[in-house]
């Protein structure tokens, strides 16, 4: 009986987190691909090598010319003067020339006097440069380097292999980037601001305000109010955000309205960071408030009517009733909504993506949106899956830590304490 549930939990709840954690420990990106890679001395690899092994880096960047059996066979196949290959085999076999110029000087000096065109033709056959050659395995690269006259210690081989590998590797680099980059710090602050302000002002306070005021209204009026406040939640988010755009963009309602008073037309959503935040928080707040309102309303409904009667005859004013009877009994729903909404605000970015896309500039870029941009969608086209996953993992950890803190603050243990009855 428990097996299907366990499998579902594993597949749909644990697996994503586990996979995220695994990806976070790699440098996977569009460039590396997600399957294995090859060894290739690219210009990038040479740049990486320059710091540790300047000689080698300079050396392998240049073409190399080696007189070997393979080249001789190719030369013979060309069927130009047989004397070239014979002389090269007898007097130059195994020689290595660090540059094309030196190799060609030797070829020009051959007894059969090759023409300039033939010198070029022959030298090409002995060009053994590794620059931009793909090796399917590490040993192939090392053998080639060896043949070119680079004798490397095992430690040096390791460095070269790491620098030239084009696939992904295990690394903790992502977390260093997250920890050290000022961009990340800014995005972190954006996120903290966005989550705490939306949560406090709308998802909890405004929702409480709505729940309490509708509680004191006649039932029919209250349900109309609640229905209106549910609209943002039940409207498809694309349409909902589109309405905000109509309201705020250059030819939108606000622009037209302000135009009446002589203000220039502008995009109120994106014209300044201040405005962008203002609308981002409103857009999300109006959606978020409806859930809190429903949860709090039903929690207030669950308080027996006689408690309200009792507090009235005990002399409590409306405000005292709210303060001493309603709010203390909403502790658990408030904890729930705070927790749930913190997590959903941390994790969801669709409204921001659809409205400001994180702009203007990166003013409203929040953590989850940044992770999305890093890993799945950005302008440069190099999608850094590893870094994006690391950012997502940070989000998961932050969410768990915050939940634990909330449980402490709201003294969860006292909420579930056992009764002790005796007659």
């Amino acid at each position: 009986m428990i097996a299907p549930a366990a499998i579902m939990i594993f597949l749909f709840f644990l697996m994503p987190v586990v996979l995220t954690a695994i990806f976070a420990m790699t440098n996977m990106s569009t460039a590396t691909g997600i399957s294995g890679g090859a060894w290739q001395v690219t210009q990038g690899a040479i740049n990486r090598l320059k710091a540790d092994m300047p000689d080698l880096a300079g050396g392998i960047a240049e073409p190399r010319f080696v007189i070997d059996e393979e080249g001789l066979a190719a030369l013979e196949a060309l069927k130009i003067k047989a004397g070239f290959s014979i002389e090269l085999r007898t007097s130059h076999m195994g020689e290595v020339f660090p540059s094309r110029r030196e190799a060609e000087r030797m070829i020009k000096a051959l007894k059969d006097r090759p023409s300039t065109r033939e010198v070029k033709q022959i030298s090409d056959l002995f060009n053994r440069s590794v620059l931009n050659t793909r090796f399917e395995n590490r040993d192939g690269l090392m053998a080639s380097l060896n043949k070119l006259g680079f004798t490397l210690t095992p430690a040096e081989q390791e460095t070269v292999a790491a620098a030239t590998y084009t696939g992904w590797v295990w690394t903790t680099e992502n977390f260093k980037i997250i920890g050290n980059s000022p961009d990340m710090a800014q995005i972190f602050l954006n996120t903290a601001f966005y989550v705490s302000v939306t949560l406090l002002l709308f998802n909890v306070s405004y929702a409480l305000f709505l729940a309490i005021t509708t509680h004191y209204m006649p039932a029919s009026t209250a349900s109309i109010f609640r229905a209106i406040w549910l609209l943002p939640r039940i409207t498809p988010v694309v349409i909902y955000v589109l309405m905000w755009k109509w309201l705020t963009w250059d030819s939108g309602f606000i622009s037209m309205f302000m135009g009446q008073f002589g203000y220039p037309v502008k995009n109120y959503l994106l014209d300044s960071a201040y405005n962008a935040w203002f609308f981002v928080i409103l857009i999300n707040g109006f959606i978020g408030a409806s859930m809190g309102m429903l949860v709090f309303s039903s929690a207030i409904k669950a308080i027996p009517q006689t408690q309200f009667h009792a507090s009235e005859v005990d002399g409590a004013s409306r405000w005292q009733q709210v303060r001493h009877v309603i709010l203390p009994q909403l502790r658990w729903p408030i904890l729930f909504v705070t927790c749930y909404q913190t997590l959903s605000l941390l994790a969801s970015f669709n409204e921001i993506l659809l409205s400001t896309r994180g702009g203007p500039g990166r003013a409203t870029e929040v953590w989850s949106l940044a992770a999305y941009h890093t890993a799945l969608n950005n302008y440069t086209g190099n999608l850094e899956y590893g870094l994006g996953a690391a950012m997502a993992l940070v989000l998961v950890v932050v969410g768990i830590v915050l939940s634990l803190i909330y449980l402490r603050i709201f003294r969860y243990d006292t909420l579930i304490s056992k009764p002790l009855i005796e007659d």
């Binding site: 027996p304 009667h309 002399g315 009764p419 002790l420 007659d423």
Partner: protein, 351 residues
């Protein structure tokens, strides 16, 4: 403080619950509002404490018209049937709540709570929460909370309904003791006639939103104004015989029992009547012999209870000191004390 209801009416929407009720509760008096469930007792009580606004009529405390005062300003203490304790507060906070919202100093509250808690014997429970109390303890907390502001009026809505039998007995005398000690004017709402009779100075008996009779418990028992009142008071209850008037006498069936009664002089022959006989007035004492067959016998320890079927099929109940010589199925010839019976007209009015 005197409570006066003057032509008080209450409707919920188009449903009229109470119409033109007049009721006066004397200062320091404890009055029972007694009636079957759904007759409007709680509605009346809630109007007195201000939770419901009257549809029409006036409510006076002393000479002060409180009809339009919100409950916060009426200075009433109410014990609700469900106690309505605040589950998130300790006993101490619950009892102190009426003072706390009046912004009485914390030290004062503590002292007064301690005093009142001692009065209702829950001094050692102050740190607990309602969920950690038994029904009886919750009851006392509710009582203490109702009394702590020294209200002008104490209202109790079926305060004992949720207690077990033994506890109910204790709390009955306990509440009465507190009411007498504090000298407070009180209204007790109950559907239990024993509670009403044992605790209150007077009983107002209600039926479908109307007060049928107001009297002291013993007067009401001895002199019920309607058959409803007679049937509501007394345990085991009164039994009724259906018959007709004939020359100043009550006649049961053809050639059946014939009881000459003073109350029937001047009543036209053939008028449909109902004769109420309390169980203690049928059995050993009395002057009119009645024949019948015992169909049910039950001992209650000190007394025995019998149901006797008369030849016409109607049933009389009898309560007598314990005896072992009568069993179900036996034919008996017992005496009826006709002077203590009540005759009612067909509409239930006493004649």
């Amino acid at each position: 403080m005197r409570i006066l209801l003057d032509k008080f009416s209450k409707s919920f929407g188009s449903t009229r619950i109470i119409e033109d009720m007049d009721l006066e509760v004397g200062s320091g008096e404890m009055l029972a509002l007694l009636g079957p469930s759904g007759c409007g007792k709680s509605t009346t009580l809630f109007a007195v404490c201000g939770i419901h606004r009257p549809t029409s009529g006036r409510i006076l405390f002393g000479d002060r018209d409180v009809t339009h005062l919100p409950s916060q300003e009426r200075n009433v203490g109410v014990v609700f049937q469900s106690y309505a304790l605040y589950p998130h507060m300790t006993v101490e906070e619950n009892i102190g709540f009426p003072l706390m919202v009046k912004r009485v100093a914390a030290a004062d509250i503590k002292k007064q709570v301690a005093d009142i808690a001692a009065l209702v014997h829950i001094g050692d429970l102050l740190g607990r929460r309602p969920a950690q109390l038994s029904g009886g303890q919750q009851q006392r907390v509710a009582l203490a909370r109702a009394l702590i502001r020294r209200p002008d009026v104490l209202l109790l809505d079926e305060p004992l309904a949720n207690l077990d039998a033994k506890l109910r007995l204790d709390m009955r005398s306990e509440i009465r003791r507190l009411q007498k000690e504090t000298g407070i004017t009180a209204i007790l709402v109950t559907h239990d006639q024993v509670e009403a009779m044992s605790m209150c100075d007077r009983i107002a008996i209600m039926k479908s939103g109307e007060i049928v009779q107001i009297a002291t418990p013993s007067d009401m028992y001895k002199d019920p104004r309607t058959s409803f009142v007679a049937s509501f008071l007394g345990n085991p209850p009164i039994s009724f015989l259906k018959g007709r008037a004939q020359q100043g006498a009550f006649v049961l069936g053809e050639n059946g029992l014939r009881l000459p009664l003073a109350a029937l002089s001047g009543i036209a022959d053939g008028t449909a009547l109902s004769l109420g006989v309390r169980p203690e007035h049928f059995g050993t004492a009395g002057g009119v012999p009645v024949e019948g067959r015992v169909v049910f016998a039950e001992t209650q320890g000190r007394e025995n209870l019998y149901d006797v079927v008369l030849p016409d099929g109607s049933v009389l109940r009898s309560i007598q000191p314990v005896r072992d010589d009568v069993k179900p199925g036996d034919s008996v010839r017992w005496n009826l004390d006709s002077a203590s019976t009540f005759v009612f007209a067909a509409d239930g009015q006493r004649l």
